[in-house]
Symmetry: C2
Subunit: 290 residues, 2 copies
């Protein structure tokens, strides 16, 4: 591909489009059910970071006519697990979808988290059966960050090619994104901290997705001319919030780039709400088909 002007992805305007669709679904839900859809946000660790993310979800929920229940989970006392408390709160609030805020505390394993959330209330695609569905190519919800990357990549419509290199192998980004892309005819390489020649891998891909948390690590050497670069990383530094990609350097070489902040981030937040409304509507429609 010839090198031409690099397009900077506008995450805010893209996420507004998603929000509009979510608001439409939320209105439809209200008109059928006679009440707003309810999203339970479980916060098992209550770090200041969690509270911040939580507040931003509640604020977004208000805009989209979604009732958010923020459930602060007490820490274990005398070894008594608060899992029961969570269960009770879920019975009380009767949510249409559940999110568990990360990072998880020590007493809650990823396994615990995936078991708390039933398949049909699983906004984040962490239930084992939903993971399995993505693995088999069945239609399902995938984790919001992976989904945000998927939406952005799909919006490129193959213009930059279909060879994707993902630098991340977690269960919330790299793995589900890889499976979802393979389902859509992309050729996918998954790299990670143990990859021997990372530069060789990223620089031969049409599309590079980075989620390493290494601030401004990926310079133009890592990117092929005219490639699309999706930057999931977000790190607070002395010089402000930056991504995994050295933006100024890569901008001059890439064909498409998502900035940090204002790129993948806002799309992810919007995808969470959109995915919530998708499962809430599905369940509602399943009920109407009696």
């Amino acid at each position: 591909m010839a090198v031409s002007e690099c397009i900077i992805f506008d995450g805010k305007s893209y996420s507004t489009k998603i929000d509009n669709e979510t608001a439409r679904l939320s209105g439809k839900f209200y008109s059928i059910r006679g009440r707003k859809p309810r999203l339970a946000i479980i916060d098992p660790s209550q770090t200041s970071e969690n509270s911040m993310y939580g507040r931003s979800k509640i604020k977004k929920g208000e805009k989209l006519s979604i009732d958010c229940y923020y459930i602060r989970v007490p820490q274990p006392v005398n070894g008594k697990s608060p899992l029961e408390y969570i269960e009770r709160m879920l019975i009380e609030t009767e949510p249409d979808g559940i999110i568990i805020e990360r990072p998880l505390p020590k007493w809650m394993s990823e396994r615990d988290a995936s078991q708390i959330v039933p398949e049909y209330l699983d906004v984040e695609g962490i239930n084992l059966r939903n993971m399995g569905k993505n693995m088999t190519g069945e239609k399902t919800i995938i984790p919001a960050t992976a989904d945000a990357c998927l939406q952005i990549i799909e919006s490129l419509d193959g213009k930059y090619g279909k060879d994707v290199c993902i630098v991340n192998r977690t269960r919330v980004v790299g793995r589900p994104l890889a499976m979802a892309l393979i389902n859509r005819d992309y050729t996918v390489t998954v790299c990670h901290s143990s990859t021997t020649d990372l530069k060789e891998k990223t620089s031969s891909a049409d599309i590079v997705v980075t989620a390493t948390g290494k601030p401004e690590y990926f310079t133009s050497e890592y990117i092929s001319p005219g490639a699309a670069v999706i930057d999931v990383g977000i790190t607070k530094t002395d010089r402000g919030v930056v991504g995994d990609v050295n933006f100024r350097d890569v901008y001059n070489k890439a064909g498409f780039i998502t900035p940090v902040p204002g790129g993948v981030g806002p799309v992810t937040t919007s995808m969470i709400m959109k995915n919530f409304m998708t499962i809430a509507m599905k369940r509602l429609e399943d009920r109407l088909n009696y």
Copy 2:
């Protein structure tokens, strides 16, 4: 890596080692349970191919002191699904593990198959929860063909490098193998029929896994000097049974190659029985921990 003599993998001797371990587990099962372990082999389509594979499993079962129940499923009559028949047969035989023979008939979807087999009797790793476990990196059973490739690759102990290119994206080979390898620090590229430049991908990998069913398609041009080549393909041709790899051509360039027949095939058959004994023993041990 310097080009030296190519090692031809001996699938038969490798599978004998696996069988010995399976026989040991089967003997242990008998000594605890007072009966042989029971494997239900469900044949929903009864093609001559299925019967052949079925017979070879029963024969192997006899050698390993495993009772195989071959369940021939009647075809649907007047739209009445035979799923109930299968359920009844499973209740009658009380198996310690279940296999569903492929190809599946039209009336049974992959989804049906994955739902017939409960998580704890799932010899082939097709239950959605088991798929999900592999996706999250949790210990679980994966499909036998993928597992055979995994065992062979792990036996190479990184000697040929850890960059793997898999040419297959099915739920029984490419996808589960990719996830299992990522769990073990391999860098993985998944290619398929829609991959644009397949040769570029395979020829830059340390290890190539082919499962395309295209007889002798992969010539030495597709392989990097000294690479390891795992050939899952098996096609009957006028000149006999051949794999996806042009053996004679690739042999002169690769560092390691699995022949067809006598490579991945026998290891797969042995892995099915080994995986069956693994889950049968796990369940038995769970029961003993009362």
